[in-house]
């Protein structure tokens, strides 16, 4: 059900843009006002969320340790999975963010005759997730070419790597194929794995469809419907120079693409996509396991009612004396 709602929502968005640009000619609204607005919401919303997390206190140092601690000098500690200082914690985080190490660890439990439970390796989610994110990242970086003139070398380099296979004309970018396949996989597993379907919300399907929609409209205009790329660059350079003008005749597909991107930007700060920022602030991962060597301070630590030794001895002094236990007061 949630999947259908999400699909409808994305279709509705497409229709809005179609009507808005295709029939009512609202070029400035869809080409200038909405993108500016979405970008502003994204920046402010993102900052707001990050700042709100960042200023909330970390009362305890609670990393989840995933390997041998550093204790005795002759015992080999697991620096990466149980980092004892800031350096290894940063490495742990970097690998987590860049390679999804925790997902890589994943197993799939199966109950068999016996009864017997087995835990086989499963790398599907890891591979699908990683492909999806890297493709997404590279695509975003490739888009940088629209915003600067001349196009920087690293973007050209990315483009040529991405188009390495030289298939078709215009050259097929590998990431375009990867993101569609990976997003489809993520969707399919969400629907077909009963447990995952059971926990999935509208908010889980919607970004997938949205990003899928962005990818598909992008691919359509690049390979099939064709648009006027120089007009696009005129528009994008106009945005960043704050002299925006929405040229007509770029092609409707571009506006559909742009509108979905705008929605993604505006939606981002309010959604689970904020995991991008949150992962860096997760106390189970971003702290070193050196609690006993270095004191962690809790900013809101307050005094609590305790039972003092004096109260204890007052209650038990007689029995303590009878049992020949030393006491403070006779």
């Amino acid at each position: 059900m949630n999947a259908f709602y999400a699909l409808f929502a994305v279709i509705l968005l497409l229709l809005v843009a179609w009507v808005g640009v295709g029939t009512v000619d609202l070029y400035s609204l869809f080409g200038i006002i909405i993108p500016y607005l979405a970008f502003t919401i994204f920046i402010l919303g993102f900052l707001y969320r990050i700042i709100k997390w960042a200023i909330s206190p970390v009362p305890f140092r609670i990393p989840t340790t995933c390997g041998q601690q550093k204790s005795l000098p002759w015992l080999k500690s697991s620096k990466l999975d149980n980092p004892h200082n800031a350096f290894w914690t940063i490495i742990r985080m970097a690998l987590e963010v860049l390679t999804f190490r925790s997902l890589f660890r994943s197993t799939r439990a199966e109950l068999r005759e016996g009864p017997k439970i087995t835990y086989g390796d499963t790398k599907w989610l890891w591979a699908g997730g990683l492909a999806f994110h890297w493709a997404f990242l590279i695509i975003i970086l490739r888009h940088y070419r629209f915003f600067v003139e001349p196009v920087p070398a690293f973007v050209l380099y990315l483009q040529s790597m991405d188009g390495l296979f030289q298939i078709g004309l215009p050259v097929l970018y590998i990431t375009d194929a990867v993101i569609v396949v990976a997003a489809s996989y993520l969707f399919v597993r969400r629907v077909f794995i009963p447990q995952v379907r059971y926990i999935s919300l509208f908010a889980d399907y919607f970004p997938l469809f949205l990003i899928g929609g962005i990818a598909v409209t992008g691919i359509l205009m690049r390979y099939f419907t064709k648009i006027d790329v120089s007009a696009v660059k005129e528009l994008t350079l106009g945005w960043i120079n704050f002299k925006p003008a929405a040229p007509e005749g770029i092609g409707i597909m571009f506006y559909l693409h742009l509108f979905l991107v705008s929605v993604l930007f505006a939606y981002f700060p309010f959604s689970k996509l904020m995991h991008l920022g949150g992962i860096f602030l997760s106390p189970a991962r971003n702290l070193a396991n050196n609690n006993r060597a270095k004191r962690h301070v809790n900013p809101w630590n307050y005094d609590v009612k305790v039972h003092t030794y004096e109260e204890y001895e007052d209650e038990f002094r007689e029995v303590m004396k009878e049992a020949d236990l030393p006491v403070e007061k006779e």
């Binding site: 926990i199 038990f316 236990l325 030393p326």
Partner: protein, 538 residues
Amino acid sequence: MSDEKLKSEQLADIDYNPPSKDWMDVKPVIKKGTFNYPAVEASEKYLDLPFSRKWDPRDDDWKLPENWKEIVLKGLKDLLGKYRSFKVFMDICVRCGACADKCHFYLGSGDPKNMPVLRAELLRSVYRNDFTTAGKIFGKLAGARELTEDVIKEWFLYFYQCTECRRCSVFCPYGIDTAEITMMGRELLNKLGLGIDWINTPAANCFRTGNHLGIQPHGFKDSVDFAVDDLLDFTGIRVEAPINKKGAEILFVVPSADYFGDPHYFGFLGYLALFHEIGLDYTFSTFASEGGNFGLFHSAEMMKRLNAKIYAEARRLGVKWIIGGECGHMWRVLHQYMDTINGPADFLEEPVSPITGTKFENAKSTKMVHIAEFTADLIKHNKVKFDRSRNDHWIVTFHDSCNTARGMGILDEPRYIIRSTCNNFYDMPENTIREQTFCCGSGSGIGTDENLEMRLRGGFPRANAVKYVREKHGVNLLTCMCAIDKATLPAVMDFWVPGVELAGVHELVGNALIMKGEKRSGDLRGQPFKGEEVKEHV
């Protein structure tokens, strides 16, 4: 139907397919064998806890305070402001499901609300409803739901069906720790007087007498005297076991089950034998007669209240530093919380082993060393001699306790000790040990008799891995360093893999230790050593 005996084939018949109904529409069922009894009023009153009353989870009316909703929402707001962990974990879960089949309670019950992600959603849905813009506008479509009495009942059921073991956190791409969310959930429940007896009564005991079992100072002394006598019987040596001795070098704190429970006690004899043999200048304390801390399972505040006595007693007795015995959640508190909540311990000295001169750099701020670290260091420096064959009647495996594995990382010290003290050691399969270890299913204060069915279910993955090494290598001893494991795993083993006993690592140490002038009559359980049972009959 009341006392039907549970059967393993029945419990192992688990259906992992979730129901067709949306989880928000499935009402919680409070069923015999899967919940814990509420706390008795006297304990809650002793701790000044709010709204203590007589109530029964099986009744429809839980007699919640009139403004219960306001209390919960205010409490939730408060916790969100106090913990970045909580706030971030509420916000960033993508429901990828990687954690789903990592929880022993889900694996053992098939109940989807025992998937860590859904356990968290039980609370997250309320958070969305009352604290996020999307939730306020889009309601159910955004995964939000209103806080109702049924939600509270659901929390009670499922936050006491989580042992705060952190296994889910290992596999989550963001490290989301459902244990942390459970802790918040329990803190909120306790604000409504919905605590359970096996947590709040030990906490009250601990507050009053210094230990969970409520043993008074003279009772403590009796236990220790008894142990000294037993050790004399088994080894021919009378050891000293000082109590409340001012000016001792080291304060030794153990979980109370060590001197009162079985099989903990045999490991306790092991400590006594070891400390005697190396001539350690140490003392027990009747006031700090508990290292365990059931406050951890109640709230951060209760944890602090119960933990305070350890540093207080170290200061009063004038010791230099502290050693802690074998216990799981105790070490979560000592390692990750104590210095923060009750430190700094600047009146103590940085721990140095008086026997080997080793500086325990990793404990230089807290000044508290784990007994396994201490013993491993002794062995490495050849300060103790062992006769491993004295453990030949055991074929041993080792269970990493959740808290020490995933909240500390003490994995190789115990293995080093075990390998040094016995000849037959086999680890369980790699996905079930070390940081991936499976919980006993009874941790975090839910190891009660009334909750037995759930415990057996939760203990199933652990037991299954033991069964594997039992069938393959004939394992008959499951060692561990946790008082809760030692207390609760015997029932779980009897049910799923009969023939496996539990023991602390220091029981093996005590058996194998060669003591000057000893005359061993058998192991620390009073059983003959392997090969010697024959002689008796000759």
